[in-house]
Symmetry: D3
Amino acid sequence: MSKLSHLDDNGHANMVDIGGKTATVRTATATGCIRMSPEALAAIRDGDAPKGDVLAVARVAAIMAAKKTGELIPLCHPLALDAVTVDFTFLEDGVRATSKVSLTGKTGVEMEAITATSIALLTIYDMVKALDKHMVIEQVFCQQKSGGKSGDWHFSG
Amino acid sequence: MSKLSHLDDNGHANMVDIGGKTATVRTATATGCIRMSPEALAAIRDGDAPKGDVLAVARVAAIMAAKKTGELIPLCHPLALDAVTVDFTFLEDGVRATSKVSLTGKTGVEMEAITATSIALLTIYDMVKALDKHMVIEQVFCQQKSGGKSGDWHFSG
Amino acid sequence: MSKLSHLDDNGHANMVDIGGKTATVRTATATGCIRMSPEALAAIRDGDAPKGDVLAVARVAAIMAAKKTGELIPLCHPLALDAVTVDFTFLEDGVRATSKVSLTGKTGVEMEAITATSIALLTIYDMVKALDKHMVIEQVFCQQKSGGKSGDWHFSG
Amino acid sequence: MSKLSHLDDNGHANMVDIGGKTATVRTATATGCIRMSPEALAAIRDGDAPKGDVLAVARVAAIMAAKKTGELIPLCHPLALDAVTVDFTFLEDGVRATSKVSLTGKTGVEMEAITATSIALLTIYDMVKALDKHMVIEQVFCQQKSGGKSGDWHFSG
Amino acid sequence: MSKLSHLDDNGHANMVDIGGKTATVRTATATGCIRMSPEALAAIRDGDAPKGDVLAVARVAAIMAAKKTGELIPLCHPLALDAVTVDFTFLEDGVRATSKVSLTGKTGVEMEAITATSIALLTIYDMVKALDKHMVIEQVFCQQKSGGKSGDWHFSG
Amino acid sequence: MSKLSHLDDNGHANMVDIGGKTATVRTATATGCIRMSPEALAAIRDGDAPKGDVLAVARVAAIMAAKKTGELIPLCHPLALDAVTVDFTFLEDGVRATSKVSLTGKTGVEMEAITATSIALLTIYDMVKALDKHMVIEQVFCQQKSGGKSGDWHFSG
């Protein structure tokens, strides 16, 4: 029967024991986007030209957040990440952020990837909100993971 | 012409000066939802019965994240929040999180509300991902704000 | 009827609204002690002589913890403390730590004082545990508070 | 002669070198209690019924504090914990918190267990203090540890 | 006679009481530089062209560090900063970082400015160290402060 | 051609992948000094006698900062340090701080050593600034590193 892994038999939260799991190389990729007005999007695009820092700031915030995941999500294990990369692509009506995280360790890094992506989008929101108060964050999900007992997996939307 | 408030004339990031602004009561409400399978949703609902901790954990994570916003979003000011509340409602295919934050201070609390909401959804994701790997976070946005120079505002979707 | 202030009508946790409260000078003092073997106590006492750092380290840890209270105790407000002092006295069979915290603000600082005291005692525990594994932390409580609507209060044991 | 492990020959604090130690499975359990009035205790008990969040909040705070131990206790090593569980039992005049932590690593986890327990008790204190200002935290100690060179150990009170 | 403000009469550290001080607008500016090889400097300069993130990352790190000062420097008060800006200029043999911080509050912000500057330089060090292991951080000091009882002050080298 | 390791081909920041590197014992030592007036220096020296906490506070701050490096320097990996020691020596016109860090892991600890040294110096600055506003931090650099592919290295000034 279905059971939530972070709850014990009394329904109480705990940080599940990964002591018996094998350390393997694990990766996860998560993506998400933020919809905005053409004016706001243009301001970021222009800022992406010679001088602008918008996406650079969001990238740094996302990388730092990946490292902080165990501090933000109560039942996540603290992990010594091997690598974090964050990329942005422009959409017709917004920006997509995609984060890839890897680890040699005993548990997966989906939460690190999806947390990094969320903080990247929130940082863009913060920097652009003076221009557009109607932005919406959408379609944040885990696209792919590899490693561990369950092996390779891709989102099949 | 449109300008991103967090960039100086050279496009460099900075934390904008709020020294000259007036301290007023400010509130903001942000909402967002996470879509999941019926099985996953049932597990949370059951957990919401006498014993389960799922939404309680997500609520605590969200409140703590609201207080950490200035540490997560690089150009946000550190703020001494007056109050944070986080509520959940069950949707047909997921859960909606809504966070309300208030402050007596010199800048708005939209980022605190939307950060709390995002972390609530990420925590649910973490606790349920063993049952459903295809969850998607959607429609995260600021619904309402009050206080400050611009006064009351509601999202007009 | 009695009611826990941090729970709403549905029993859900929230950070209570202090927006309507008046900023006044508030203080709180909390104390606690750690019991240990004569050998362990002597090692700290000797270390308190010309060269030792034990109580100095515990004092720094306690002051830093007072500032972190809002990050550790989920429903505490983040506070801009005015002052923190931590003192130690030797008991016959251990050490007593006493922390005093003050603030000009809208809520009390009992939690900051008691958290500082607890972390002071835990730090002593950590530094002495190689000598005595049977130490016990005892009698940690708030001794006194002043300021706010309820005014002066002393523990009447 | 007895020596405090965290002090060098000049009595100066340092983080002791665990580089040469072997990574083994290590566990530690710590317990402690908070004494309170019957009225306060009843409020928690009632809150433990269908709707209340008190112990759930304390449990989350404790788990998060276990992960933060290396940041709170100055000379503790940062550790990648395998598991953390926190349980509560009702006493006649209060609540007992018991935390168990495990790690595959080069140093013990007593401090993580006792820190988690302390923060659990402080969180209960915070949530109940509106009802009872005379609560006292008592008998916080390490009950058991296993793993490492010294092997199994139990508190012999 | 001269006395260190953070030590009490027994030479013990404490966080000095600012409760009686007046909240005024205060600013501080701190500067510092990092010396490096022509090759390393050229790599940053080139990176400062259309695509590079080096100084953008250092700027974000510095702004975030200014906000964290009260967490890093044990006896600093936690402060709600009004503004932080960080600028870089190229020297013949390195890079100069200059941080300006402002606050409406009861204590000065020199430590915030000098901490931001130091973290900016350390971040550059980190990003360039693959090219030059002989970099040296130099001449980090507070250039100017204003506000508070002592009023305007400039470094007179 | 020279390339900054933390930038990808588009000049974007990322946390470089250390997944394929071998875990070895690595050490690094960094040093730096703070210049001050004879009066300020005397106050620290006196404080170093029976009662004073100045260098003890700086030492604790430095050790804690070494553990926080991955949180302060955006592209540093979070590391489980084996050991940290911090020492001070008196110069004719100031104080020298030297930090040594070691790790069994996949990347070097230069940044941890140099960050610890910088925070030690900043803490001294904070505690002495009431006596001397003209202090300058100087000559902060990495003296030595060992371990990893590049092996032993010493600064050759």
